[in-house]
Amino acid sequence: MPSSIDIARQTLLSPADLQDHDLNRVMDQLLSPDIDAADLYFQSSRLESWVLEDGIIREGSYSIEQGVGVRAICGEKTGFAYSDEIRLPTLLEAGRNARAIARSGNSGRIRVQPVQEPPRFYEPVNPLPSLSEEQKVELLHRLDREARRQDRRVIEVTASLVAAHDVVLIVGSDGSLNGDIRPLVRCNVHVIVEQDGRREQGSSGGGARRDFHYLLDQDRALEFAREAVRQALVNLEAVEAPAGTMPVVLGPGWPGVLLHEAIGHGLEGDFNRKGTSAFSGRIGERVASSHCTVVDDATLVGRRGSLSVDDEGTPGQNTVLIENGILKGYMQDRLNARLMGTASTGNGRRESYAHLPLPRMTNTYMLPGEHHPGDIIASVERGLYAVNFGGGQVDITSGKFVFSASEAYLIENGRIGPPVKGATLIGNGPDVLTRVSMVGDDLQLDAGVGTCGKEGQSVPVGVGQPTLKIDELTVGGTHA
């Protein structure tokens, strides 16, 4: 099998007839004694999506995104330019713009050299043609039928399939040449149910860095359809959510968005280098109860957030963020690692060639504890059991974060009670995990639908956690 670097060269450089000596020339021009680091990021992406609505395949679309980003770094200063055209003259022009932050003339002598390929955490496949168009369309129709078959109260079904094939080639300041082929598929089902004039929604989905067969294996996609209906029907029975501070039990898997918001962003290197994070300067301190160990792990095979190499050419890693409650480390890209005197943790990610890399999460999750999930719920007299969430947000500086429950139940006398309407939960990142008193033995990762936004850039991520109990969290319902 050809290496990822060979495939990436073939895809990105061959059409423009760009040779290694051309890359040497661009890098030579980019580097000067003032420049600490520079890189070229070539990218070619193909994205395809299909949408079923109201029983018909309403829309299909295809998009091409292709270009090159050129970056030069001098101390804390970054110069950046990009072009949608991959040609030598535009590369040289982008290079001139990017290096304008430095004062003195050229001095570099760079020899582009492919690196030894690091281990791959996904196959270099193109998911787009992994099913025929007929099969994609048939899958969407099956999802529609499966959802409607569940219950007569289902009045609307929307289902979508998305596949992306992303080919990147990265040239580092030392001339190292790195490539990565990143497949990504996703399926979502959204339903509306109606009963006696009351309408509610439910949605479910999943995906992976694999091809479309992942969605067919074990009837995964059909399970999304069933799950969306189940959630919508639960919501039909939902009563007002409570308002106030109370014990909250979070279910396993996707509720791990708690970790992403409450501590993940606050542990990204850029905020900590600048001292603007509520976690700045707190390495070695206790930020969680001793039950909590949290990692950011790019090395899980085929996961949505996994990365064989990050967007700066650093191999994906498993980084311990919190170990038995003690803050161990930050997530770093190269710029922030260098300025903080440490090494990149392989968390340098960018939305595309037209964006600058930033320290970003991959798959962030908490390791399992010892408690049986049933015992955790039984330990709560009155509180909330939240099992599904929408998105979340955090104010890095004050540490306040929110995440929105979309399926939750009251806990009454140690038993799961009636479902409640969706509500936002709010807490303080640096102390929420100190209130974790029980951690379940049932670690789950999410199904693969997460997208994280930072400074206007979106990247796919994963989260996960076992069932856990937070002794005190504020629940934003309407029932005071």
Binding site: P15, D54, I56, I57, R58, E59, S61, Y62, S63, I64, E65, Q66, G67, K77, T78, G79, F80, A81, S83, D84, E85, R96, A100, I101, E133, V137, I155, E156, I192, E194, R199, E200, A241, A243, G244, T245, K274, G275, T276, A278, A354, L356, G392, Q393, T397, S398, K400, F401, V402, S404, K421, A423, T424, G427, T474, V475, G476, G477, T478, A480
Partner: protein, 452 residues
């Protein structure tokens, strides 16, 4: 450093002609490949982004974005494709991909171009193009002045996320096989600043920004910085409050998000999917009688102005809510057809939507509320569009006797948007004008605040 210079009028005319030709070529190629009708758009935009932090340059970003998209119809089967690569091979691949996908989508009687009669007949000049192109040195200087003003507000402003200047100018072209081709140039400039304050162990951050089509309409850089500094300072020492039901004022920037909820609920795509809490609500009273909400897509220099919508349909001023009563949905050609209605020229969204301002400024509203919560920041998405249920994280100020007492944080506010609209008591004259939705602050009847 290399200098950028705005293109001359002649260069712009040439570019415009070239992109229009591209659209026509795309449409012809789609027809050649068998499409019965098609629409296409091309855009090109270039700009400069400069970040300064702690008095030093942090990043200079030269941006140059282009995109081309085509939607083809084979009878009533629809498909689309787009590319950022304008090479002839990529363009051919794009049109082919769309035509191939259209073989597999389903016949949908509503899929197609808007009526030929609804196309914009002229493309009025809305004065949207004011290129600036400062040199990087000038941009850095502006950012430094802005950030310095923020940091000098108070010694407690201890850190900074920096100041950012962003300037963009470009061209957009849209055409379809009715023979319509329209294009217009536009520009957008903004300056923003975010600083961090510290008091004891706790830190707070806040920001301010200014945005305009023309550089001379931007707020002065020192003023932007000062407001960022003052807003951060005001949040220091924030505490929590107990769970309660109290009247709430949404400061203008926050009231925008409530109006955005209205826009979502009256948008065709949510209505025909029965995913809106305002289904079948035309002619219903949603707000008190004093409320009038309208849009003016033709506002000169408006940040959301456009001479035609994203389907080529002529845009025009329109009332959405009159005397508190919902008068119009916001529809594209497709959603209108699904609802048995006509397009309202809102393909691509609402443009310069505004609620009539009231008499009072923010202080006047605080006096009117007497005791309650002033919300100046919200977190999370928190709106269920199907039911109107609303729950978001918030920060702001506790108000007693019509005056701000202290900052509050780590609370939530919750209600139902339909009830919140009905409970609107007053709109301020402190109009927020930096986006596609314009409003003053809103005073609402009691809603639930969750805290300690």
């Amino acid at each position: 450093m290399p200098e950028q210079r705005p293109p001359s009028g002649e260069e712009m005319d040439q570019r415009q002609a070239r992109l229009e030709q591209m659209v026509e070529d795309l449409l012809r190629e789609a027809r050649r490949q068998g499409a019965s009708s098609a629409e296409a758009g091309v855009s090109q935009d270039s700009g400069l982004t400069v970040d300064v932090r702690m008095g030093e340059l942090e990043t200079i970003e030269h941006t140059r974005d282009q995109g081309l998209g085509i939607t083809v119809y084979f009878g009533h089967r629809k498909a689309s494709a787009s590319t950022s690569d304008f090479s002839p091979e990529a363009i051919r691949e794009t049109v082919q991909a769309a035509c191939n996908i259209a073989r597999f989508t389903t016949e949908d009687p509503c899929a197609g171009l808007a009526d030929p009669g609804s196309m914009a007949r002229t493309v009025p000049d809305l004065d949207l193009y004011h290129p600036w192109a400062p040199t990087p040195e000038q941009a850095i200087e502006l950012c430094i002045r802005c950030e310095t003003a923020a940091r000098e507000v108070d010694p407690r402003i201890s850190n900074s996320e920096g100041a950012t200047l962003n300037t963009h100018a470009g061209l957009q072209v849209y055409g379809n096989t009715h023979g319509f081709v329209g294009s217009y140039p536009s520009s957008r400039h903004s300056l923003s600043c975010a600083v961090v304050g510290r008091e004891g162990d706790s830190m707070q951050r806040d920001y301010w920004y200014t945005a305009a089509r023309a550089p001379e309409e931007l707020e002065a850089s020192e003023q932007v910085g000062r407001r960022a500094g003052e807003r951060t300072l005001a949040r220091l020492g924030a505490r929590r409050i107990g769970t309660c039901r109290v009247p709430v004022i949404f400061q203008a920037e926050m009231a925008v998000s409530l109006l955005r909820g209205l826009v979502g609920a009256i948008s065709g795509s949510n209505l025909y999917r029965r995913s809106s809490f305002l289904l079948d609500s035309l002619e219903e009273r949603l707000f008190p009688e004093f409320v009038h909400i309208h849009e003016n897509p033709l506002l000169p220099r408006g940040l959301a102005s456009a001479p035609f919508d994203s389907e080529g349909v002529a845009t025009a001023p329109k009332d959405f809510v009159t005397g508190g009563v919902l008068k119009s949905y916001a529809l594209s050609n497709y959603s209108a057809c699904r609802l048995g209605m006509r397009t309202t020229g809102n393909a691509g969204g609402v443009r310069n939507l505004a609620i009539d301002p009231g008499e009072q400024d923010l202080d006047g509203l605080l006096a009117l509320m007497d005791r309650g919560l002033l919300v100046t920041e919200m977190m999370g998405s928190g709106l269920n569009m199907v039911t109107g249920d609303y729950s978001r994280g918030a920060a702001g100020f506790w108000v007693e006797n019509g005056e701000i007492q202290y900052p509050v944080e780590e609370i939530t506010i919750a209600g139902n948007l339909r009830q919140m609209f009905a409970g609107l008591m007053a709109v301020g004259n402190d109009e927020e004008r930096r986006g596609s939705i314009r409003t003053g602050s809103w005073l609402l009847e009691s809603i639930t605040v969750a805290g300690e």
